[in-house]
């Protein structure tokens, strides 16, 4: 019996040792998860204009829930990375999945979160949440006369589910509710409003190889499709801007089999393409009548991305400059994905998305194209909203 007791004692010692080992592991790895704090960096000297800064929406990759908002405060010269979670700690799973557009309109800011199927409504001064508006698969937003118009890949359910049309949702900015919906083409993207008509570019991006080449024209009085502009020169339409002469500037992503991205000028009255600018466009920004473009296109020949930049005079429809970065910084930009221009200082900003799956970089250039500062952003930096006391667009 003594030996048995000894053995049991030995066993107990061993068991307790193991218990202690497991417990120490368990308790050492037991920790609460905490929201990620803002990272702030002094990137430049403070400057004081009527534009006090800008918000940058980082898309994040689908399924990763890593859409994020950064803020540059010009009056401090400080770049704040990832402000949403700290400002809105009670929102479950933070900002959401794939940020696709951001805009300040009236006294509110709207962030379009594509794969979270919502438009986040925020205060423009502090990025605090007011509410969210549920819009499925929402893509881009524009504001006009007290209403927000949001393009969406999915309209009402169709009889043939394989040919589901997209839609434009109309949101009342006072009640912050969807008040109307109109069906447009396949996978609609950006929009522009001229007079009382809204023009939305349809991409058909998920209908390879049957891309859409139509611009749907919506009469904002009746909120019906009043007309359709069919473009023969290109399909897979994406970006839309307007110029001071009432013309539309629409980019095409091109297709995979040879046709490359291009930029077209369209007269909405005659529904004709006035000029094919023959420059590729990933993103563009109209500053008055000056259009800034960036592009990156994969080439199987070189096994790399061909990168290009341009500045276009929209009034004369001429390319002013095909190399807007003058100090050689473009050599370190791998995949330019977004561009914006400060309407007062004419500083311009280029976002480098790199390989999409890493943190991006924002580069700030002065009006002459020389680097002022750069800073690390969230994943896939792309969309800008300037914050200030002026109407900039």
């Amino acid at each position: 019996m003594t030996t048995l007791n000894n053995r049991i004692a030995t066993f107990k010692v061993l068991a307790i040792a193991l218990l202690a080992f497991v417990t120490s592991l368990t308790s050492s790895c037991e920790r609460d998860e905490v929201l990620i704090d803002i990272v702030q960096t002094q990137v430049t000297q403070p400057s004081y204009t009527d534009i006090c800064g800008f918000y940058l929406l980082n898309e994040g990759n689908m399924g990763s829930n890593k859409a994020s908002i950064d803020y540059f405060d010009a009056t401090e010269g400080v770049y704040y990375r990832n402000i949403y979670a700290e400002r809105n700690p009670t929102v479950v799973k933070e900002l959401g999945d794939v940020g696709n557009d951001i805009l300040i309109y009236g006294n509110k800011m709207y962030a379009v979160i594509n794969c979270s199927h919502k438009v986040e409504v925020l205060t423009p001064d502090s990025a605090k949440r007011i509410t969210q508006i549920d819009i499925p698969n929402c893509r881009y937003a524009v504001g006009h006369e007290g209403c927000l118009y949001v393009s969406s890949y999915v309209g009402p359910v169709q009889i043939d589910p394989t040919a589901q049309l997209g839609a434009v949702f109309k949101v009342d900015t006072l009640s912050l509710e969807v008040v109307d919906t109109v069906e447009v083409g396949y996978q609609p993207e950006e929009m522009a409003i001229i007079g009382n008509r809204l023009y939305v570019a349809n991409s058909g991006g998920y209908r390879v190889p049957y891309y859409d080449n139509r611009v749907s024209v919506i009469d904002l009085n009746t909120f019906d499709v009043a007309d359709v502009i069919t473009i023969d020169e290109a399909a897979n339409l994406h970006r839309v801007e307007k110029d001071s002469k009432g013309r539309l500037w629409i980019s095409s992503r091109g297709d995979y089999f040879g046709s490359i991205s291009t930029l077209l000028v369209i007269d909405p009255a005659s529904k004709k393409v006035i000029k094919n600018m023959s420059i590729p466009v990933s993103d563009m920004w109209a500053d008055g009548d000056t259009l800034y473009t960036v592009s990156s296109e994969w080439s199987y020949v070189t096994g790399g991305n061909a990168v290009s930049y341009a500045k276009v005079d929209m009034a004369s429809m001429e390319i002013i400059d095909d190399n807007i970065i003058k100090d050689g910084t473009d050599a370190s930009i791998k995949l330019p994905y977004g561009i914006a221009v400060n309407p007062l200082t004419k500083d311009f900003y280029v976002c480098d998305a790199k390989s999409y799956v890493v943190s991006g970089t924002i580069y700030c250039f002065d009006k002459d194209g020389c680097l002022k500062w750069k800073e690390t952003t969230g994943q896939v930096p792309a969309h800008f909203a300037f914050n200030g006391r002026i109407e900039y667009k």
Partner: protein
């Protein structure tokens, strides 16, 4: 402190029970379980005896004890294995061995590889343990030269063997009926029937049905920086249901100096794809239907003392239907079909009693069809030839092999897809072991292997993404290890073993997705270099107190798997995604008079869910405690076994894959009748 208390409680109960049993254990009853266990260990040991480097193996009763539902769950207890688990019963589960990537793992079912030319991955969550006799994991390759060329053709390999019928004295049949139920709305009945047909031929048939609604509670809780709760939400996982039917039949024959077998396998399932949990999206509408069928056979005969032959062949058909019918998303309904034909001849020549040489040749044909726009309809022919030699001296064993792989592909498409160029590759491997003492209690071993994986059909031809110019992805493995095992015959300790491996792997030409600068569009390119250094330590102890038998298995893996693709990358030198530096598993088992208690603990250290090792990609460590208790009764030659399992005892909220929450505390009950 809470955990300390809980674990303490459990251990106290366990220890008390052991005391109680040991004091009660004065009789001399036949210890049914341990007898069975010993037999099975012997069987397994014989099977692996000729191997220069012994695999990690789980078999028989040990497998049953591990609170594991599928092959994937059981693999968590092996060293060097990272399981990718998307959660739930129907979720995808794949493994990554020694950080080289899922596509480098060959999975062999009854000796023949399970193929998936489409994406190169085998969902191990679909292979239930119900009919499985043994799972073995080999780093490098099975170091037994009498095998098909395919056995030489992957970076690491998992072998799953189903139960071969064995009959007790004077018996001609066995029937086992089992029913499992538990959390997630699980209903899982199965039956195995084996029958002796003639003296030399026996048959085994097996069917299993699985239904689960897949619902489970998960929780997200975050704190603010000041320590206040930011949010704390509990929700139910939706659209994770699964319904599956598996049926298998096998014929097993013995001939003079040889044996043969024929197996048929059929599987059909419907499942929801629960998807990532992101802000504002807690439910998705994707579903998938799968059907797969294969038939395979093998014939093996020793014709003389100097020559043996092994023939094997397989035909496989796979169908998959993916449907996205969700009002918020674009509708998608795609169908995929794959076929595979495979045949292998392996020859073994014994030159003398210490020197053997083998030569094997395999031929494989794969094809795939899909109703995607402009689909490429690829077909791949693969010829493999391997020569190998083994020398077994008293203290030293040596093996070397050279594999030649020849691949031709063609496509059929309206568009510009061209087939990848013809490929030929030569892959060497060498294995050595050294046993300095006669009793073999100490072994020192090592291996080198260079091998590659072909780009999958998706990598090469997926509409808009594929890149037919892709080169194969190479791995180089260097391993050295030491193993000590001793039967002790001590009054308390019966057996102890320790095994340690140190390894270095290099992955070159890694195939990664790369953005083309346009939305929706990525392409696959050969860009990527990963250096992996690791250490694995595992230990086993068996002990007894009177009639209470106990076993303890512990395993620790350290891995540094770093990306060295381009010094300009922000993640240069960072740990690659989802590879923890530290992982640990512990399992403890005690049995007495048909009672069996099992406790296991799995810890996976901190990881990153993307390439950059920054706080935005940080994944916290996770751990689970699982336990089970079972009792076996025998009444008139009918054996009844009842098993109760409790998993994730402390209801930890965790994720293995970012945004895929795992189940909290869950249970399972099993009743098993064997006649």
């Amino acid at each position: 402190m809470k955990y300390l208390f809980c674990i303490g409680l459990i251990w106290s109960i366990a220890i008390l029970n052991v005391n109680a049993y040991s004091q009660a254990a004065m009789g001399d009853e036949v210890f049914l379980d341990s007898v069975l266990t010993i037999q099975e260990i012997n069987v397994v040991a014989n099977k692996h005896q000729k191997e220069i480097i012994k695999p990690q193996t789980l078999s028989g009763v040990e497998l049953e004890r591990l609170n594991s539902h599928s092959v994937a769950d059981a693999l968590r207890y092996f060293s060097g294995v990272q399981l990718k688990d998307y959660g739930g019963i129907g979720g995808i589960k794949t493994v990554n061995i020694r950080s080289m990537g899922t596509n480098h793992v060959g999975v062999f079912y009854n000796g023949i590889q399970l193929g998936n030319a489409q994406n190169g991955q085998v969902d191990l969550g679909r292979y239930s343990l119900e009919n499985v006799e043994e799972i073995s994991l080999y780093n490098g390759q099975k170091s037994n030269i009498f095998q098909s060329a395919k056995d030489f053709a992957s970076s690491s390999a998992i072998y799953i063997y189903t139960k071969r019928p064995t009959f007790g004295h004077g018996r001609n049949y066995n029937v086992m009926v089992q029913m499992k139920t538990g959390s997630f709305g699980l209903a899982n009945p199965s039956i195995i029937w084996s029958q002796r047909l003639t003296d030399n031929i026996s048959m085994s048939a097996n069917a299993e049905y699985t239904y689960a609604n897949g619902r489970y509670k998960f929780r997200y809780r975050r704190l603010q920086l000041n320590g206040d709760v930011a949010y704390d939400t509990t929700a139910t996982r939706q659209n994770g249901d699964v319904e599956a039917l598996r049926a298998e039949m096998g014929l097993y024959g013995r001939i003079q100096n040889g044996r043969w077998n024929l197996n048929g396998y059929f599987y059909t399932s419907e499942r929801g794809i629960p998807g990532a949990i992101v802000n504002n999206v807690f439910r998705r509408g994707e579903r998938q239907w799968d059907k797969s069928a294969f038939g395979q056979g093998a014939f093996e005969k020793k014709f003389s003392n100097s020559y043996s032959l092994k023939l094997s062949g397989k035909f496989a058909w796979d169908y998959s239907n993916y449907l996205r019918d969700d009002k918020k998303e674009l509708y998608l309904n795609n169908h995929y079909y794959q076929k595979e034909v495979y045949f292998s001849v392996a020859n073994l020549f014994s030159i003398n009693n210490w020197w053997t040489v083998s030569a094997s040749a395999d031929l494989q044909w794969n094809t795939m069809a899909a109703d995607l726009t402009d689909f490429a309809y690829p077909t791949r022919w693969t010829q493999l030839g391997a020569i190998a030699t083994a020398m077994n001296f008293k203290h030293v064993g040596l093996q070397a092999s050279l594999l030649g792989t020849f691949i031709q592909e063609s496509t059929r498409s309206r568009k510009i897809y061209t087939a990848g160029p013809n490929r030929h590759e030569f892959s060497p491997a060498a294995f050595i072991n050294y046993r300095p003492f006669d009793s073999d209690w100490l072994e020192i071993y090592g291996f080198f292997k260079k091998i590659f994986r072909m780009p999958t059909f998706n990598d090469l031809y997926y509409t808009e993404i594929g890149n037919a110019d892709l080169e194969p992805e190479y791995t180089y493995q260097y391993d050295i290890g030491i193993s000590i095992s001793r039967q002790l015959g001590h009054s308390f300790f019966d057996f102890v073993s320790i095994k340690t491996d140190a390894y270095y792997n290099l992955v070159k030409n890694k195939i990664i997705a790369y953005p083309t600068g346009k939305q929706f569009r990525w392409t696959m390119i050969n860009l990527g270099k990963v250096r992996i250094a690791g250490v694995e330590v595992s230990g086993d102890v068996a002990a007894h107190i009177e009639k209470v038998r106990m076993k303890l298995h512990t395993q620790y893996t350290f891995q540094r798997a770093r990306d060295y693709t381009d010094p300009a990358d922000s993640f240069y030198g960072d740990q690659i995604p989802y590879i923890p530096r530290h992982s640990i598993s512990v399992s403890y088992n005690a049995n007495y008079r048909g009672w069996d208690f099992n406790y296991s603990f799995i810890y996976t250290g901190e990881r990153y869910n993307e390439q950059e090792n920054n706080l935005y990609n940080f994944e916290p460590p996770w751990f689970t405690h699982d336990m089970s208790l079972s009792k076996e009764f025998t009444i008139n030659n009918v054996s009844l076994k009842l098993i109760g399992e409790l998993n994730n005892v402390f209801n930890q909220a965790y994720e293995v894959i970012h945004n895929y929450p795992m189940p909290g505390r869950n249970f399972r009950l099993t009743a098993k009748i064997s006649i």
